[in-house]
């Protein structure tokens, strides 16, 4: 790696991390009803979240174990970054789906609509970047899926989470109607 390239990489990574921190700070503030940065969960939600983390942990464990036991067959078709990132995506999806379905995803002081709007924006940005990579033909190089697929994976993950939120919303409304009738 040349000195010039190395500096460019460090500056790029630095700007990316800084942008990430600013976005997370904005996300934390924008999605709260009380303007606080901290999420407040009740005791039942904490139990649900704990179980969600447990299932996500085992998902990642099993995924990594299968990757190792398979003699890294995946490495023949995917770059290492994509394989690792896909494991993280799987774990996040398991946690989010479990927590959403059991009403432990949104904190007491969170505005679900605002969270969904930001998820939608993040999803669209990542999907657009992923589709651009596909159009440019940079997503597969030398027969391997490259790290450029990570945006697409991230976009699909957010889309899936939004889908679970939408289905749960419908299911919750129906349950509420049934409860009101009783």
């Amino acid at each position: 790696m040349s000195m010039e390239y190395n500096m460019g990489y460090v500056v790029g990574a630095g700007v990316g991390i800084l942008f990430g921190i600013i976005f997370i700070a904005f996300f934390m503030k924008f999605t709260k009803k009380d303007g606080s940065m901290k999420c407040r969960f009740d005791e039942r939600q904490n139990i649900i979240r704990g179980k969600g983390y447990k299932y996500a942990f085992f998902t990642l464990l099993i995924y990594n174990a299968l990757d190792i036991l398979s003699g890294s067959i995946l490495a023949m078709y995917f770059e290492r970054e994509v394989i690792t990132f896909f494991g993280i995506i799987l774990a996040v999806v398991v946690y989010a789906a479990y927590a959403i379905w059991n009403e432990g995803y949104f904190s007491l002081n969170e505005n679900p609509k605002r969270v969904m709007i930001l998820f939608g924006v993040v999803s669209v940005i990542n999907l657009a970047s992923g589709i651009t990579s596909i159009a440019e033909g940079s997503i597969i190089e030398a027969g391997k899926v490259t790290f450029r697929a990570m945006n697409l994976l991230c976009g699909l993950m957010m889309l899936f989470i939004l889908g679970v939120l939408a289905v749960k919303n419908i299911s919750r409304n129906r349950a509420q109607e049934r409860q009101d009738e009783e």
Partner: protein
Amino acid sequence: MKNLKLKAARAGMDLSQQELADKVGVSRQTISAIEKGDYNPTINLCIALCKVLGKTLDELFWEE
């Protein structure tokens, strides 16, 4: 097992699940889960519910 006593006490005070949830600092879904018998609250939450609804622990949570 459904907690009909809690539901009746709440209805008796003309409180919605959301209003009761706000008063004790939990989500509406948690109140719903307790009433449906899907969640057993901690003693701290039971006491908070009793205080808001003006009932004793026996009146709300003792099974006969």
